[in-house]
């Protein structure tokens, strides 16, 4: 089993900001838009160097999405940014018509996804954004696992021609992937090979999964850990290959149990290869105020929850 360590913790939104900074320098077509949340999205370095390529939209998210769609006409690559709730649920119809159905090269970049934005509470803690975005035909849905991967994904999506939803967050979390990684859209990343259970994790739950993997190893259980950073298109091949070996699955995500990665994997399973699956996700409830760590624990999103789920899954194997 590979060991993962970290020296530093950072928020994934800062990885986005760093990626935008780099994109600003190397791709003259990249335009950033924001709805009165420049600081939260870490856009300052981009704006400082490219003031003419930043569009402040004020608190008008619907307009921002459709303006982005318009900007693609003429060859711009708009990155429309705000909190995940306002980047999806507030503007779903706009994304659907002006971006997805119109096939526009818009990157919807969403910070503060999930519970771990913390104290602001449930009105801001969207747990349904992955579900919404993955239902849109043609939409690519990416949820990277740490600062470095978020930065790499930000840069990668500028080169991909098509609508993308990129999700990241506010809490500081370990950086454990390579700084110089190349992000490959749609290709699951084998974090650790194993034989007893497949853990499919996304976002910062990948780190929790790694922790869980170590605990399981200590108990003599070999967990295969796969980072599903791209939820759509889903790397079904990687999933099927893994469960063919381990014969049971756990999915781990900071999202509602309904509609997220778990259901994407379940669909693959019931169609192709029947193995028991356990969900680590928020159990169909709204979140609440609290610190990220408190919320992860209260809502069952820790390494310990993954360990328990893995054992349940293994116990259900035929």
């Amino acid at each position: 089993m590979k060991k993962y360590t970290f020296t530093e913790k950072k928020d994934t939104r800062s990885g986005f900001g760093a990626g935008m900074h780099e994109l600003g320098q190397k791709n003259p077509n990249v335009v950033a838009l924001c709805a009165d949340l420049v600081g939260s999205l870490k856009l300052e370095p981009f704006i400082k160097e490219n003031p003419e390529r930043f569009v402040q939209c004020g608190i008008s998210e619907a307009n921002m999405i459709s303006v982005s769609a318009g900007l693609t006409i003429g060859g711009k690559i708009p990155f429309a940014t705000t909190f995940a709730n306002f980047a999806t649920g507030r503007v779903y119809d706009q994304i659907r018509q002006s971006v997805a159905y119109s096939g526009k090269n818009v990157k919807i970049c969403a910070s503060h996804a999930g519970l771990t934005l913390g104290e602001d509470g449930a009105t801001h803690q969207i747990l349904e954004d992955i579900g919404m975005m993955k239902m849109l035909p043609g939409m690519t849905v990416i949820n990277p696992c740490d600062y470095n991967q978020t930065k790499a994904a930000t840069i990668a999506i500028a080169d991909y021609d098509g609508p993308v939803y990129l999700r990241f967050g506010r809490p500081v979390i370990p950086i454990f992937t390579d700084a110089d990684q190349v992000f490959e859209i749609g290709k699951a990343w084998m974090v650790n090979e194993g034989t007893d259970v497949s853990i499919f994790a996304t976002g910062h739950m990948v780190w929790e999964a790694i922790q869980a993997g170590e605990q399981l190893e200590a108990e003599g259980i070999s967990a295969e850990i796969i980072n599903i950073h791209t939820i759509k298109p889903l790397d079904e091949e990687a999933i099927l290959k893994s469960i063919a070996k381990t014969r049971c699955a756990v999915t781990a995500e900071e999202h509602n149990r309904i509609g997220g990665l778990g259901d994407s994997v379940a669909q693959v399973i019931v169609k192709n290869d029947l193995v028991p699956q356990e969900y680590v996700a928020v159990n169909d409830s709204f979140g609440e105020s609290g610190t990220p760590a408190q919320l992860m624990e209260k809502y069952g999103l820790t390494a310990a929850d993954i360990v328990a789920a893995a054992k349940r899954a293994i116990a259900k194997k035929k």
């Binding site: 769609a69 318009g70 018509q97 159905y101």
Partner: protein
């Protein structure tokens, strides 16, 4: 900035239009545009009749505007006298239809202008057609750059395209048409606030002020009152055109609007039209917002509209 008298659009139906109101050629030119409009109106009623669905009312009301735009006003990319479509539309004027339900009008104008074969109009709203109920680039129909149908989004899209032109140092214009009922959508007012703030002065927006929407007169359904006062309060340059179905008045208004471009403000034309204009029994009522004529009604309608360019 833009001088309306020195940026003649190449390849338009009418060769020159130097606009001094009493120019002798002018009446003839207007007459030709009116002929195009009559044919487009024929197309519209035939299209909605052909699939027994779609929206004739708003389409007929805005025909003069769209014909004036595409056949006279807009600077369009052409090769060998035929329009050439590419998505980016650099160096040419762009038009966006926000009230996508009046798609038959747009399709007819695009086909008659030469963007795609006129006979394709017969596929409107039928299975496997590129002429979807509401316009979409999803089926790669030449001339369509964005999907519309869900109301309230088009002005924002047009603003984005206008900003793109500014970034590209492209001084052509962006036009967008909306409905008056559509003004009830909040997103329209987000865009209305945004455009003056960002000095989007290469944008000419037009509202089809027909006073009608699905459930009845706009004043009864949800009165949006004096839209001119509203847009002025939001910081727009506002023009009101009382005769939106008089070709000469429409062309003149479009010249005037263009002369106002480049002066730090977006431009709004409140265009008074008659819903169903051109077909007597369809005129002035919301009843024909989204109803197709039967065979008899079709015949009655066609009898009022000159077949000037040949039916498809």
């Amino acid at each position: 900035m833009h001088d309306p008298y020195h940026d003649r659009d190449s390849g338009s139906l009418i060769q020159l239009y130097y606009a001094p109101i009493k120019n002798n050629n002018r009446e003839m030119e207007i007459e030709q545009l009116e002929k195009v409009a009559a044919q487009v109106r024929r197309d519209i009623v035939r299209m909605v009749h052909g699939c027994q669905s779609g929206h004739p009312g708003g389409s007929l009301g805005c025909t003069d505007l769209l014909v004036a735009l595409y056949f006279e006003r807009m600077k369009l990319k052409e090769e060998d006298g035929k329009p050439v479509f590419d998505m980016d539309g650099k160096g040419e004027d762009l038009f966006f239809l926000s009230n996508g339900h009046i798609s038959p009008l747009l399709y007819s104008v695009l086909a008659r202008k030469g963007y795609f074969p006129v006979p394709e109009l017969a596929t409107f709203r039928k299975l496997n057609s590129r002429l979807q109920g509401h316009p979409t680039p999803h089926e790669h129909l030449e001339g369509i750059r964005i999907a519309s149908g869900s109301l309230g989004q088009g002005m924002s899209v047009a603003i984005g395209a206008a900003l793109s032109k500014k970034l590209n140092k492209d001084d052509s214009l962006v036009y967008v048409l909306m409905g008056d009922g559509e003004q009830q959508e909040g997103q329209v007012w987000e865009a209305a606030m945004f455009a003056p703030h960002h000095k989007v002065d290469n944008l000419i927006a037009i509202i089809d002020l027909n006073g009608q929407q699905i459930d009845g007169p706009t004043a009864k359904v949800m009165d949006n009152r004096d839209l001119g006062a509203k847009y002025e309060a939001f910081g727009w340059e506002v023009m009101e055109v009382e005769e939106g179905n008089d070709m000469a008045a429409v062309v003149k208004a479009l010249y005037e609007a263009k002369s106002k471009a480049g002066h730090a403000k977006p431009i709004m034309i409140l265009l008074h039209t008659g819903m169903g204009y051109g077909v007597d029994f369809m005129m002035g009522s919301h009843k024909w917002h989204g109803v197709a004529p039967n065979d008899e009604q079709l015949a009655a309608a066609l009898a009022q509209l000159e077949e000037s360019m040949g039916d498809y």
